[in-house]
C-alpha cells in the first residue's frame, strides 16, 4: 500500500538534506501524472512541469534505443540560469522523481547525492 506515503517521505528527506528546493514530484512516466508532489513556490506549476518532463524522459529513452545503448538511464541534469532541475528514474523504471532547486542555494553534488540516497530506498 502507501506508495504515495513512501514517496512523500522520500521527498521530505531530500528537502531536509538540500537547501533551496523549489518543488519535487514523483511522476508516472507513461501518463505524466504526479504520484506524489510538494511545491514550495505557489507560481511553480508542478503538474505542468511533471507532464512535460515525462515526455522529455520518454524521448531520451527513445534516443538511447535508437543508438542501441544497452544501458539504463539513471538521471538527467538540467541547468537553468537560476535553477537546477534533476530527473531521477525510480526503481522499476516506470516512474521518476523530478526536482527543481534554486541554483544559488545548493550545488549539484549535494543535490544528486541526496536524491540518490533517498530514492534508492524506494521499492520498485
Amino acid at each position: 500500500m502507501a506508495i504515495e506515503k513512501s514517496l512523500m517521505e522520500a521527498i521530505a528527506k531530500i528537502e531536509a538534506d538540500v537547501n533551496g528546493v523549489i518543488a519535487t514530484a514523483a511522476v508516472d512516466l507513461e501518463s505524466g501524472m504526479t504520484l506524489a508532489s510538494k511545491s514550495n513556490r505557489g507560481d511553480f506549476d508542478l503538474a505542468v512541469a511533471s507532464a512535460y518532463n515525462s515526455e522529455l524522459v520518454k524521448q531520451k529513452l527513445k534516443i538511447m534505443r535508437a543508438l542501441n545503448l544497452n544501458v539504463a538511464l539513471e538521471d538527467m541534469l538540467l541547468t537553468l540560469s537560476d535553477q537546477f532541475h534533476l530527473i531521477k528514474l525510480l526503481p522499476g523504471g516506470s516512474s521518476f522523481l523530478y526536482l527543481a532547486a534554486d541554483r544559488g542555494s545548493t550545488n549539484l553534488a549535494i543535490l544528486r547525492n541526496a536524491v540518490n540516497k533517498h530514492c534508492a530506498a524506494l521499492a520498485a
Binding site: 506515503k5 501518463s31 501524472m33 522499476g92 523504471g93
Partner: protein
C-alpha cells in the same frame, strides 16, 4: 464521455468514484483534491451525505502530446439516489470503486459491485476499467485481499485492487493514477475505432453537470430527499431497482473480453527476462483495459520463471495465472514487436469463441533493451484435474465425471476444427465453463501458429482414450460398478446416438 477539447488542446476524461454508502468516496475525492492542490465542489449535502456528486477538475499529465483533463466525480451512495448514480456511472471512462474493508460491509460492496457491472455492461464502446480501492485497510479485522479477489471473481468483474486508508491519504493517488491509465487505454481504443470526438465537452463544469442531472430527473429525486426518505433507505429496499436488476443482468451476462498491458520489471537474475507488469505503455497490451487490470493483479507477485524444453519461458503466478513466452518471441525493434502483437491479438480475437476469457498478451521490455511478447492465461480447472479429483469417489461419481469430461473433450475436438489455427487437444488444455468446453491453454504466436486441424469423431475418441490411460488402473478396481453405471447411462434418452454410443462403448472398454 472522453473527448478531445480543441479549445484547450486537451483530452478530457471522466473518472467516477463509486461505492456503497459510507465507504469513503467523498473522503477519497477530498483527499485526492488536497494532494493535487485542487478544490472539491459538492453541490448539495444532507447531513454530510453527498446528494448529487462531488466534483474535482484536474489537469495533469500528457497523452500523445495533449494535456489530460480529468473530471473526477463521485456518485451519491444512497439507494434512493440510484438513478442519479447510474447516470453518472454511464459517463465514466474509468471507475474507482471505493470498497469498505470492514467485514460487515462486504455484503454492501458485493451488491453495489453487481449494480456497477450491470451499468457498465450497457456502456457502448471499449470496456470501462475498474479499480477496486479497498478502503479502511487500517481496520484490524479488514477483509483479507484474497477474499476481496474471490468476491470480484464471483461477480466476474475484472478489477485491479489498490489498498487505501482514505482518512490518512494512503493509496488514494495510486488508485487514481491507475484509473487514469485505464481511462487512457479506453481513449486509445476509441481513437483507434474513430469514435473519439473532437468538441467542447457537453459537461464542462460542475454547474453543467448539476443542471444536466436536474433536467434529466425533473426534480423527482429532490422530492424523495426532501420527504426524508434518504436517511431511512436501506439496501434491502432495492427490490426491483437498479441494484437487483443489475445483479440479474450480471448473472446472465458473459465475462468481458480480457485485455492486457505490461511493463518489464527487473528480476534480479542475469539470465531471466524481466517480467511484464501493469505499467506497460498503452498500445502494448491486448485487450487494452482489462489486460492492464490483469497485469496489475499479477505484478509484484513472485513468479517462478523457468525455461521450457523448447527454450521458451513459463511462470506460475499465485497458482492463478500462467505466464508464457516463446524463445523466439523477442524483438530488437519495438515496431516489429508491436506488429507481431497486433497479429497475435487478431488470432486471439478470431478464436474468442473457443478459448477461455481470462487471458491477455503483452509486449514488454525484457530488461535488456529488447521487447518480448508474453501471454498471461488464467489457470482454469482442466478436464484432467476434474477426473483426477473424482477418482477417490463413488462409481456413480466417477462415471458421471468421466462421461461429462469425455463429452466435453469430443465437443471441443469438433469445435477446434473451426479455429483459425491448430490448438493442441488434450485433457490439460480443455476446461469446462458455464457456456461449455473451452480451450484453456496458451495460444501459439501468430508467427508459429499451424493451420487448423480437423478432428473426426473417431479421431477425437481415439485421442481421448490415449489421454485416459492414466485412469485405467482405478477404473479396473471398480469395474463392475462402473459398467453398471455406464449401462444405466446408456439407457437414458439420447445415449443411443451413434457418437454417444461409441463413446460409452470405448469408456466401458477402459474398465
Amino acid at each position: 464521455m472522453a473527448v478531445i477539447d480543441p479549445s484547450d488542446d486537451c483530452v478530457v476524461i471522466r473518472i467516477v468514484y463509486d461505492g456503497a454508502p459510507m465507504a469513503g468516496k467523498t473522503t477519497s475525492v477530498a483527499t485526492l483534491g488536497h494532494g493535487l492542490g485542487a478544490g472539491v465542489y459538492s453541490p448539495a449535502e444532507h447531513h454530510g451525505r453527498t446528494l448529487y456528486f462531488d466534483w474535482l477538475d484536474y489537469t495533469g499529465g500528457l497523452f500523445e502530446g495533449r494535456r489530460i483533463r480529468c473530471q473526477i466525480v463521485s456518485v451519491p451512495g444512497q439507494a434512493t439516489l440510484a438513478p442519479r448514480r447510474r447516470r453518472l456511472l454511464q459517463s465514466a471512462d474509468a471507475v474507482v470503486f471505493v470498497g469498505d474493508s470492514s467485514p460487515p460491509a462486504l455484503a454492501a460492496d458485493r451488491r453495489y459491485l453487481g449494480a456497477l457491472r450491470g451499468v457498465l455492461n450497457d456502456v457502448s464502446g471499449p470496456p470501462v476499467g475498474i479499480v477496486f480501492q479497498a478502503n479502511k485497510r487500517d481496520l484490524v479485522d479488514a477483509t483479507p485481499l484474497d477474499r476481496l479477489r474471490s468476491m470480484l471473481d464471483e461477480l466476474q468483474l475484472r478489477s485491479a485492487i489498490v489498498e487505501s486508508v482514505a482518512t490518512e491519504g494512503a493509496g488514494i493517488r495510486e488508485a487514481f493514477v491507475f484509473a487514469v491509465r485505464l481511462a487512457l487505454d479506453r481513449v486509445r481504443e476509441l481513437n483507434r475505432n474513430g469514435a473519439l470526438g473532437t468538441a467542447r465537452p457537453t459537461i464542462n463544469s460542475a454547474d453543467d453537470l448539476l443542471q444536466e442531472l436536474r433536467r434529466a430527473e425533473a426534480g423527482a429525486l429532490d422530492l424523495a430527499v426532501a420527504s426524508g426518505r434518504l436517511e431511512h433507505t436501506h439496501l434491502h429496499e432495492l427490490q426491483g431497482s437498479l441494484a437487483s436488476h443489475a445483479l440479474q443482468e450480471a448473472m446472465h451476462s458473459n465475462i468481458d473480453s480480457p485485455e492486457v498491458r505490461v511493463t518489464a520489471t527487473a528480476t534480479g537474475h542475469a539470465e531471466l527476462p524481466a517480467i511484464p507488469n501493469e505499467k506497460v505503455a498503452s498500445g502494448l497490451v491486448w485487450p487494452p483495459v482489462d489486460g492492464r487490470t490483469i497485469l496489475h493483479e499479477t505484478a509484484g507477485t513472485p513468479v517462478n520463471l523457468q525455461r521450457r524444453h523448447d527454450g521458451g519461458w513459463l511462470g506460475i503466478i499465485n497458482d492463478r495465472w500462467s505466464l508464457h513466452s516463446d524463445d523466439a518471441a523477442v524483438f530488437d525493434d519495438l515496431e516489429a514487436g508491436r506488429a507481431e502483437l497486433v497479429q497475435w491479438a487478431r488470432l486471439h480475437a478470431s478464436n474468442s469463441e473457443l478459448i477461455s476469457k481470462q487471458r491477455c498478451i503483452v509486449l514488454a521490455d525484457d530488461g535488456r533493451n529488447r521487447f518480448r511478447l508474453w501471454q498471461l492465461v488464467r489457470s482454469e480447472p482442466s478436464l484432467r484435474s476434474r477426473i483426477q479429483g473424482t477418482l477417490s469417489g463413488s462409481a456413480t461419481a466417477i462415471a458421471d465425471v468421466l462421461l461429462s469430461c469425455a463429452r466435453a473433450f469430443t465437443e471441443m475436438a469438433e469445435r477446434l476444427s473451426k479455429a483459425s489455427c491448430e490448438l493442441p487437444l488434450g485433457l490439460d488444455r480443455v476446461g469446462l465453463t458455464p457456456s461449455g468446453p473451452a480451450y484453456i491453454g496458451p495460444l501459439p504466436t501468430a508467427a508459429t501458429a499451424p493451420p487448423p486441424r480437423h478432428w473426426s469423431a473417431a479421431q477425437a475418441i481415439d485421442a481421448l482414450m490415449l489421454e485416459l490411460e492414466f485412469v485405467q488402473p482405478t477404473l479396473r478396481l471398480h469395474s463392475s460398478e462402473l459398467l453398471a453405471e455406464l449401462a444405466r447411462i446408456a439407457r437414458q434418452p439420447g445415449s443411443q446416438k451413434r457418437n454417444e454410443w461409441q463413446l460409452l462403448q470405448r469408456l466401458a472398454a477402459l474398465t
